[in-house]
C-alpha cells in the first residue's frame, strides 16, 4: 500500500445512504443533531454489525474449539470465518498469522512480553517515534526497564512529519526493534512506514506497526508493507470494543513463547510438562470474546463493501474542507500540517483552553476530543498541555465540517 493519500473520488460518495446504516447518528445532543467527530477514539457501529452480534447471541453462541455439539461447532466456524475475513482485510498470507487480541494495546504488549523478553537484552535499543500513543511507549519502557535496554526516539519536524534522516542515523549494532505508528492519533500524520521498514530490514531489524489509526482509514496490506507485526483495534473500525488484531509473520510467531497461559493455548498438559498449541491458538488463552471477533469480521465485511479506497478519498475531501475552513478562521491554530495526513485535525483556539472548547462544542452537538490524546511526549514536543481534536470517519459530511466551524465561532463568541 501507499502512504500517500488516495486521490479524490471520481464519483460522488452517497453519504446520506451510508449514514442510514448507523442508527446512533440520528441522536440529538443538547437539542441539536449529533456531529460525531471523535472517530479516532472510537467509531460508531453500523446496523449490519449490530445485527450480526444479535444473530450470534440469538442463534449461534457456545464456547469454541471444545465441544462436538451443534452450537459449539457453529460458533467455532463463525469465529474462524471472522479470522479469515480479517486475514483478507489486511492481506496476510495465512489466517494463522492473525491473532485475536483485546485491542491494539494488548497486541503491542503481547509482542513486548513474548518476542521482547525472548530477544531483548541489556544494552539493546528499541526505536520509537515522538508521536507514539502511550500504548506504543509504555510496554517498551517496561521491557527496557526489565532488560536494561534503551529507547531511542525518532523526532519530527514542526509539521508533524518524522525526520527520516535522524531515524536512519539511530541505527547501530544494538538496534533490535522498531515500533512505530502508521498514522498519528493526535495529529493525523501518515508516516512513511514502508520506507522505514525497508531501511530497518536492511539492518536486520524487525518492525512492529501500530495500525490503530490506519486500519480504519487506509487499505492495509501487510505483505506489501512487509511489516513483521501489525496491531489494530476493532472498535475504531466500526466493530465492537474488546477485540483487536495482532498480525505477525508466521515464522516469528512460531518462535515466540506464549503470552498468557491457560486453556485453548496448549497441546498437552501434565504437571511435568506442557506443550503449546500451534499459532494462532498459542496466543489465545482462555475463552476469547467470540461475539466481538465475529462482530469485527462483520465490520470488515461492511467496510469492504464500501471499499477502503473510496473511504479514504471521501475522508480526504473532508480533511481538505476542514483544513481550509479552520485555517481561514481567525484565532484558530492547526497543529499537524504533514503533507500526508489522515482526517484528523488537532487545533488550538487562541486564549481558550481545549477543555472549555470541548464543553461548549458539545453544547452545539459537536463531539470532539480534548486533552493530551495519550501522547504526552508529543504534547511536550508541541509545547502544549492539550489540544482539541476533530477526527472524521467516512460517514461524516461537509455539513458537519460547517457545523464544527460554526461551533468554533460560537465558542470564540462566548470568550470574546
Amino acid at each position: 500500500m501507499s502512504h500517500s493519500p488516495t486521490p479524490a473520488a471520481p464519483v460522488a460518495f452517497d453519504v446520506a445512504r451510508i449514514r442510514a446504516d448507523f442508527p446512533i447518528l440520528n441522536l440529538r445532543v443538547a437539542g441539536k443533531p449529533l456531529v460525531y467527530l471523535d472517530n479516532a477514539a472510537s467509531s460508531q457501529m453500523p446496523q449490519a454489525v449490530i445485527d450480526r452480534l444479535v444473530r450470534y447471541q440469538t442463534h449461534e453462541h457456545a464456547n469454541i474449539h471444545r465441544a462436538v455439539h451443534y452450537l459449539s461447532e457453529t460458533a467455532t466456524a463463525a469465529y474462524e470465518a471472522a479470522r479469515t475475513t480479517l486475514q483478507r482485510f489486511i492481506n496476510a498470507r495465512e489466517a494463522r498469522e492473525v491473532i485475536f487480541t483485546s485491542g491494539t494495546t494488548e497486541g503491542i504488549n503481547l509482542v513486548a512480553q513474548s518476542w521482547g523478553r525472548q530477544n531483548i537484552r541489556a544494552g539493546d535499543e528499541i526505536i520509537l517515534s515522538v508521536l507514539e500513543h502511550h500504548s506504543n511507549i509504555v510496554p517498551w519502557q517496561m521491557l527496557a526497564q526489565e532488560k536494561g535496554a534503551t529507547i531511542r526516539v525518532v523526532p519530527m519536524n514542526d509539521a508533524g512529519e518524522l525526520q527520516l534522516d535522524v531515524y536512519e542515523a539511530l541505527f547501530n549494532e544494538r538496534t533490535r526493534l522498531v515500533s512505530v505508528g502508521h498514522v498519528s492519533n493526535a495529529l493525523g500524520s501518515i508516516h512513511p512506514v514502508k520506507q522505514m521498514i525497508t531501511f530497518a530490514h536492511a539492518h536486520g531489524v524487525p518492525v512492529l506497526v501500530d495500525g490503530a489509526q490506519a486500519a480504519p482509514h487506509l487499505a492495509v496490506d501487510v505483505q506489501e508493507l512487509d511489516c513483521d507485526f501489525y496491531a489494530f483495534s476493532g472498535h475504531k473500525l466500526c466493530g465492537p470494543t474488546g477485540i483487536g488484531i495482532l498480525y505477525g509473520r508466521a515464522a516469528l510467531l512460531e518462535a515466540m513463547p506464549p503470552f498468557k497461559g491457560g486453556g485453548d493455548m496448549i497441546h498437552t498438559v501434565s504437571f511435568e510438562k506442557t506443550t503449546y498449541a500451534s499459532i494462532p491458538n498459542k496466543f489465545e488463552a482462555g475463552t476469547p470474546p467470540i461475539a466481538a471477533a465475529i462482530g469485527l469480521g462483520a465490520a470488515a465485511d461492511y467496510l469492504n463493501t464500501l471499499g477502503m479506497a473510496t473511504i479514504a478519498a471521501h475522508e480526504h475531501e473532508l480533511l481538505r474542507d476542514a483544513t481550509e475552513q479552520l485555517a481561514a478562521t481567525p484565532g484558530v491554530r492547526l497543529l499537524g500540517t504533514a503533507q500526508h495526513k489522515a482526517a484528523v485535525l488537532s487545533f488550538m483556539l487562541q486564549g481558550i483552553h481545549p477543555h472549555d472548547v470541548g464543553t461548549l462544542l458539545n453544547q452545539e452537538g459537536v463531539a470532539v476530543r480534548t486533552g493530551h490524546h495519550c501522547a504526552q511526549p508529543l504534547m511536550a514536543r508541541l509545547g502544549v498541555a492539550a489540544t482539541s481534536r476533530a477526527s472524521f470517519a467516512f460517514y461524516n459530511t461537509h455539513a458537519e465540517v460547517d457545523a464544527l466551524v460554526a461551533g468554533i465561532r460560537t465558542v470564540q463568541k462566548v470568550f470574546s
Binding site: 477543555h355 464543553t359 453544547q363 498541555a385 462566548v414
Partner: protein, 162 residues
C-alpha cells in the same frame, strides 16, 4: 442548578478567567502546594502566608482551563483575610456543591461561588473546578503537591463524582 454549559460560562467566570485575581507568586510563603490534573495536564501553584491562623496573603499561577482558573481566582478572593477554619469549611462546601452532594442554596457560606453549581451536571469538568480547592487543602496539610488522581488526594472524592 443548570445543565446548560453556556449558563456556566457566565460573565463572572469569564471575567475571573480573563483577569484572574491574586495571580502570581509570593515571596517566602508560609504554605504552598501544587495541584495537577494528570488527565488534562492542568496544574496550578498556590502560595499562602498564614499568620495566627489567618490567611494574610494568597497567590496562584499555572496553566488551566477557564473553569479551573476562575475557581482559583474566586477562591483566593473568598479566603483572603479569613481564618483557616473558615477556609476549610468553604473547601468542603464548595466540593460538596461541585460534586452535586449539596445544593448551593443549602451551602451557607458559598456566596458568589454559587456560579459553579452547574458544574455538577458536567462530570468530566468537576475536577477542573475543585482542583484549586484540593490544592488549598494540600497547602494547609503542608503537602507539597496533590493530584486529582492520587490516593493521597486529601479530598478523595468517590469514583464517579469527578
Amino acid at each position: 442548578m443548570s445543565a446548560d454549559p453556556k449558563a456556566l460560562y457566565q460573565d463572572v467566570i469569564l471575567d475571573h478567567n480573563r483577569k484572574p485575581r491574586n495571580y502570581g507568586e509570593l515571596a517566602q510563603p508560609s504554605h504552598h502546594a501544587e495541584g495537577v490534573n494528570p488527565l488534562c495536564g492542568d496544574h496550578i501553584h498556590l502560595a499562602l502566608d498564614i499568620r495566627d491562623d489567618t490567611i494574610e496573603r494568597i497567590a496562584f499561577h499555572g496553566e488551566s482551563c477557564a473553569i479551573c482558573k476562575a475557581s482559583a481566582s474566586m477562591m483566593t478572593t473568598m479566603v483572603k483575610g479569613k481564618h483557616t477554619d473558615e477556609a476549610k469549611t468553604l473547601i468542603h462546601e464548595f466540593v460538596d456543591m461541585a460534586t452535586g452532594r449539596v445544593t448551593a442554596e443549602a451551602s451557607p457560606h458559598i456566596g458568589r461561588l454559587a456560579v459553579f453549581s452547574g458544574i455538577s451536571a458536567l462530570p468530566m469538568r468537576v475536577k477542573c473546578a475543585i482542583l484549586p480547592w484540593h490544592t488549598l487543602q494540600a497547602a494547609f496539610l503542608s503537602e507539597p503537591s496533590t493530584s486529582t488522581e492520587a490516593d493521597a488526594d486529601p479530598m478523595r472524592t468517590a469514583p464517579g463524582d469527578a
